[in-house]
Symmetry: C2
Subunit: 332 residues, 2 copies
Amino acid sequence: MIWYKNNNSDIVVSTRIRLARNVDKTPFPNALKDTKEVTEKIKNAVLGGNSTLAKDFDFIDLDNTPLIRKQELAEEHLISPVMCEGKGKSVMISKDRTMSIMLMEEDHIRLQIIKDGFALDEAYSLASKVDDVIEENITYAFDNDFGYLTACPTNTGTGMRASVMMHLPALTMTENINRVISSAGSLGIEVRGLYGEGTKAYGNLYQISNRITLGLSESQVIEKLTNVVNQIVDMETKARNMLKEKNYDVIADRLFRSYGTLKYARSVSSSEAKSLLSDVMLGQSLGIIPKESKIAPLECMVLSEPALVCDGKELSPNERDKKRAELIRNNI
Amino acid sequence: MIWYKNNNSDIVVSTRIRLARNVDKTPFPNALKDTKEVTEKIKNAVLGGNSTLAKDFDFIDLDNTPLIRKQELAEEHLISPVMCEGKGKSVMISKDRTMSIMLMEEDHIRLQIIKDGFALDEAYSLASKVDDVIEENITYAFDNDFGYLTACPTNTGTGMRASVMMHLPALTMTENINRVISSAGSLGIEVRGLYGEGTKAYGNLYQISNRITLGLSESQVIEKLTNVVNQIVDMETKARNMLKEKNYDVIADRLFRSYGTLKYARSVSSSEAKSLLSDVMLGQSLGIIPKESKIAPLECMVLSEPALVCDGKELSPNERDKKRAELIRNNI
């Protein structure tokens, strides 16, 4: 299932496993004059094999893709934002849109699995299978001491980044989020706002991921991340219950006002939409706001992103804000 | 009709005529040791006569009225706020609640007619009739040079204050209201915010009234006030059309957000309610917000006033704000 579709997850929104791989004896993308040959090689390794899994992918040459369509893919988290820029890049996306293989990002291959909810083991197992299919035809750059070699040394080793997207409105509201960030950090786990600058996280969505790729096996990383995520789930749950029990009137008023604004506003910016939709998510999760939305608030958040909201049309920022308000108003 | 009931007036909300009268050869209320005798005299003058008009009044002894009920009367504009305090005061109110005769306010008699909409002549004619009924049995303090004598010299002469309540959101939003206030002032017409302190008028409701009671006849005052009110109506209409034509998106978004907030908020203060309801009034008048309210926004504004919203119950400020939000949410 596409991670953001019909997603009514309370706290853990989605899970992502990303593997960085490079073709042996070939310069990394930033040092590669022509990416065609390597791209063909990897494309054939995936699409040309006998695996049913691999046959499921569609190849998209990003050089021939309009910018707005690339931005849409980035907003769906199927490619990273840097893939929207530069030349010689491409991506293979599975028909169910849960797997993507970026070519010529920072590394030759960035294989990524996204699942809705909390599913690290399942996502890792799927990533491994796709990784094996590719490895049948490609020799990876690998060092017996260091493991998988990558363009940036922070990825060397397993080449794996495991991350979990969490909705943490109560920890943010009660200002406990900074304590969470620093204590996770001391365990080698990074917590960062998915949107917004500095400490402000629009939508109260945070990405929790491993910082370390060297010296720990994949399963050790996943175990450690699982423990930290479970602890944060516990803290967020307690913070939500406290808000509901001790501050019901204030919190219900705030969440309903956000709901009312989204139900009636005629123009909403992207950052405001995220904040208000986060309130609706919290309100529905606490049983304060009825779950009557045609589209779950998280899906509204993704579908109202700047490129996706345009639906292929060229819109000015004002027109986009009106279109976003309309989309949310009709579906929340 | 009660001035605020089913009142969908666009700009001129209501009209009020107030006459100040005193009983001849009797100290003004502030110098009167015992108000009983004068009160009885006036009460009998009104209720004891043969006039059908006068028979219509109910007598309320404010000494035996709980404070909250007195505050309700003040919020309905049937008594002035000072009538809630002190001893020896009473009021006679007509069954249709458009006429009230306050006894022992600043003067022995403050006769007041309130009509919905713009109806200065009609209100004055009714005030004169009631005035005549009282004068059949009471000799007023009257001087051939000065006219009716009153406790405060600013009322001496006709003893009449004619005023019109206007909803001026567009002139306020475009900051033209200060120009209106000063140019009306130069004509002896006072414009003041009905609610709020300083220049801030919650609800964008203004009271436009004559400052002069001496040297002009009643009909001259009414004619002058009519001219000024018509000019302000014209200015407000132009300002509204300009907002709608030049700033439709911004204004529609703002007005709908206010509507959405009132439709969903769980707690609303009195001043916020007035501002948001003023937006809904403007939105409905401009045809932006559909007129689907069970109770017109102006009526919601009055019914959600601090005392009226309590509906006879003792409520804390927090409970009142919740009750107000509920009342408006269910009726707007």
